[in-house]
């Protein structure tokens, strides 16, 4: 992966459109759940792809490190990405 281009947007993961890939910039917050996200491999530098949203718009499915991870938008908003 090439380093972030200057025109890359920085936003929270919940704002990334379905089908887009993004790179994690930071995981914010100090809760159990942000720790769990990091333990499951969502750490700065890793790239992920938003695959789909559930029928009622939430949760979202993300592909990271070769596996599928579902999380609510609420949780996704603690992840800052550039895309």
């Amino acid at each position: 992966m090439s380093p972030s281009k200057p025109d890359n947007k920085v936003a929270t993961l919940g704002k990334v459109p379905v089908g887009s890939s993004a790179r994690v910039v930071s995981v914010n917050g100090n809760s159990r759940i942000t720790k769990r996200l990091m333990e499951m491999g969502v750490i700065p530098g890793v790239s992920l792809k938003v695959v789909k949203t559930a029928p009622f718009g939430d949760p979202i499915e993300v592909k990271v490190r070769g596996y599928s991870l579902a999380m609510r938008k609420n949780e996704a908003d603690s992840i800052e990405v550039s895309f």
Binding site: G41, D58, G66, Y67, L69, A70
Partner: protein, 661 residues
């Protein structure tokens, strides 16, 4: 310990991520020689079994499925305690087998890097290697083992591949002792999460050196299925169809074996009465023990079927998708997406539903689900609803075309659901206060279910139900039996010329309504009359209510006894059919002052009471077991029965004010 001081038996722990194939490997190594219980004081499953080695056995401990060992959840805390040897009653493992899914290597290795820090020898069992190779990925196992400084063995539970190697490598690592292959502390300036970053850096480096992914093939099959199964429209349609199939099975397929069990226990009871000398002992065994335990065992087919379906749905990876699809709806109430299936199952029977809440990790969310599950109208309420409707609303319609009975039935089901939603809403903001449950869940790739895992899963859970619930239920059945049986009525003097034995045999059934009226249960019925009088119930309904706290459908058979209808089924306590005579007996029943004991309003009030009251000792026993707390169990009985009284009071008094009778 052998006399010479050497350890006679190895203890090996099996650790791995959920969905890594840990249970399948455990089953294949131990066969049927495994035991399931709970760790003391908590509901974390403790599973261990004997693994046959060449010379003797190893004690294999199956740890809960874990993503991490940082002790942020109860499962992790216990796994950590087992590995460090501080969990009471479990010897410190001599080595750990880390189960690692080859198709999901990076995240699976994270747990392994933590295991290295626990000063315990580790052997890595690489699962799903066939799926991995089928997708044309390549992995250099020798190099992986070199970099991890621990043996890596490719295993396949189906073919038995790698079993032998696993044993050989275990003995060599135990001899060698633990090795830590990397600097675990990370960079100081990475702050609190330095360790996490260091572990993943180590892993990324290793994976890069050992694995060649074929990105074109990666998860293609799974993604295709997923596009349909989690589709915004078809996904929901399929989910509803699957649920319908499950309930159809629980309702109808289970009815034949349930009838057989019911008849079998009935026949057994008759046999006991015929063979044993007539007296208290025979009555205790037949009407107390056999009828009581039998009354619970009839639920076994439903439980087996539900767990069969859940195991299949879980093992294929579908259950995670169902939670994904429905999480938004459930979270509005404050529950987890995973609470959906247990609650739906509770429409058939709350017992398997409550046992199915084990898939919910958060204790508070799990308890909230358990506490509202019995509000779903289960199949045992049906005989009560049907009796009331048949007696007072048969053939009536609303708007000229809707059957009043069907409307009432729908109203009762809806009442249960609405109250459940309100209770969950309140509980999640008070006693079980917690932020909306976080939803971070892996969606594992779809896999064909492993037949052995599915069946073992089903049988283990069913056995837990039989064993534990059975003991509590046995005790309560005996108490309830004794309440209706004592004190005995003085037998009539034997009429001259009549065979004494024959008279004795007929005596107890000569006038059961008399016996009940003067039994402790009858006294209790009279005793609670002031409490139930505002609901429009007299002491006779009171006796039936007391008896129905054992199981709801007992109301029907108890009413038969009280009104002396002489229903043959009544002795077994399961007279589910509303016989025409019972219906007319209820319609004709009078208070002492000559006014009718039952009105349509009484019938509706009784139905409302049955929707909400906690009247099922099997459920009580299971809730006690699943929450491991009498306090929560009593709380559930209390709030449900309290609500039932209030709702019935409002129905009856409100109905009277509105001019209904």
């Amino acid at each position: 310990m052998k006399p010479n001081g050497y350890k006679s038996q190895l203890t090996i722990a099996l650790a791995g991520n959920p969905n890594a194939g840990k249970t399948t490997l455990f089953n294949s190594l131990t066969g049927l020689k495994q035991k399931v219980a709970n760790y003391p004081g908590v509901t974390v499953e403790r599973k261990h079994g004997a693994w046959k080695l060449e010379n003797g056995h190893a004690n294999l401990i199956d740890l809960p499925g874990l993503y991490s060992l940082d002790a942020t959840s109860l499962d992790e805390q216990i796994a950590r305690d087992v590995i460090t040897g501080t969990q009471a009653g479990v010897p410190k493992p001599d080595a750990v087998i880390a189960v690692v899914d080859a198709t999901n290597l990076e995240r699976n290795l994270y747990l392994v890097t933590q295991l290295f820090e626990f000063d315990v020898p580790v052997v890595i069992a690489l699962t799903m290697i066939d799926a991995f190779e089928k997708q044309k990925h390549e992995i250099d196992i020798t190099k992986l083992s070199e970099l991890l400084k621990a043996p890596v063995v490719a295993v396949n539970a189906k073919t038995g591949r790698g079993k032998r190697e696993l044993i050989d490598n275990l003995s060599s690592v135990i001899e060698r002792g633990p090795v830590v292959p990397f600097e675990t502390n990370g960079h100081v300036d990475d702050g609190a999460n330095a360790k996490i970053f260091a572990r993943y850096n180590f892993i990324s480096d290793i994976v890069q050196q050992t694995v060649k992914h074929n990105d074109r093939e990666r998860h293609r099959f799974s993604d295709k299925i997923d596009r349909v199964l989690t589709h915004k429209f078809f996904g929901l349609l399929i989910l509803v169809s699957i649920l319908l199939l499950v309930f159809q099975a629980i309702f109808s397929w289970a009815s034949l074996p349930m009838d057989l069990l019911d008849k079998g226990f009935g026949a057994l009871g008759d046999l006991v009465k015929a063979e044993l000398p007539h007296g208290v002992l025979a009555d205790l065994i037949a009407d107390g023990v056999i009828a009581g335990v039998g009354g619970v065992m009839v639920f076994l087919p439903q439980i087996l079927l539900l767990f069969l379906f859940i195991s299949i749905l879980e093992d294929t990876g579908y259950l995670a998708r169902a939670a994904f699809l429905l999480d938004k709806l459930m979270s509005r109430v404050g529950l987890h997406g995973k609470a959906f299936l247990p609650l739906m199952s509770s429409f058939a029977c709350a017992i398997p539903g409550i046992m199915a809440t084990r898939t919910i990790e958060s204790r508070r969310d799990r308890f909230a689900t358990i506490l509202i599950a019995p509000l779903m109208s289960c199949s045992a309420r049906l005989p009560v609803y049907t009796l009331m409707i048949a007696a007072f609303f048969a053939g009536q319609t609303v708007f000229g075309f809707l059957s009043l009975g069907a409307v009432l039935m729908l109203a009762m089901y809806s009442l249960g659901i609405c109250v459940a939603i309100i209770v969950a809403f309140i509980l999640k903001r008070t006693l079980l206060k917690a932020p909306p449950p976080p939803f971070v869940m892996e969606l594992p790739p779809y896999r064909l279910p492993n037949v052995r895992t599915v069946f073992q899963n089903m049988l283990t859970r069913a056995w837990l139900f039989v064993k534990r619930a059975g003991t509590v239920i046995l005790a309560i059945s005996i108490i309830l039996w004794a309440l209706t049986y004592f004190p005995r009525q003085v037998p009539d003097p034997v009429a001259p010329g009549q065979n004494a034995e024959q008279a004795a045999a007929e005596q107890p059934s000569a006038n059961p309504s008399d016996q009940i009226q003067h039994s402790f249960a009858g006294m209790l019925g009279h005793g609670i009359e002031p409490v139930i009088r505002p609901l429009g119930f007299d002491w006779k309904i009171g006796v039936a209510l007391i008896a129905s706290f054992a199981a709801r459908e007992v109301l029907v058979s108890t009413l038969s006894i009280i009104y002396n209808v002489g229903d043959d089924d009544s002795a077994s306590g399961k007279g589910g059919d509303a016989s025409p005579t019972l219906i007319s007996a209820i319609r004709d029943a009078k208070h002492d002052d000559g006014t009718p004991a039952w009105t349509p309003l009484t019938a509706v009030t009784l139905m409302v009471f049955f929707v909400l009251a906690m009247q099922c000792m099997s459920t009580v026993a299971v809730v006690r077991r699943e929450t491991n707390s009498w306090r929560w169990t009593l709380f559930m009985i209390g709030y449900m029965t309290g609500l039932a009284w209030i709702a019935a009071f409002v129905t009856y008094q409100g109905g009277k004010l509105l001019g209904f009778v």
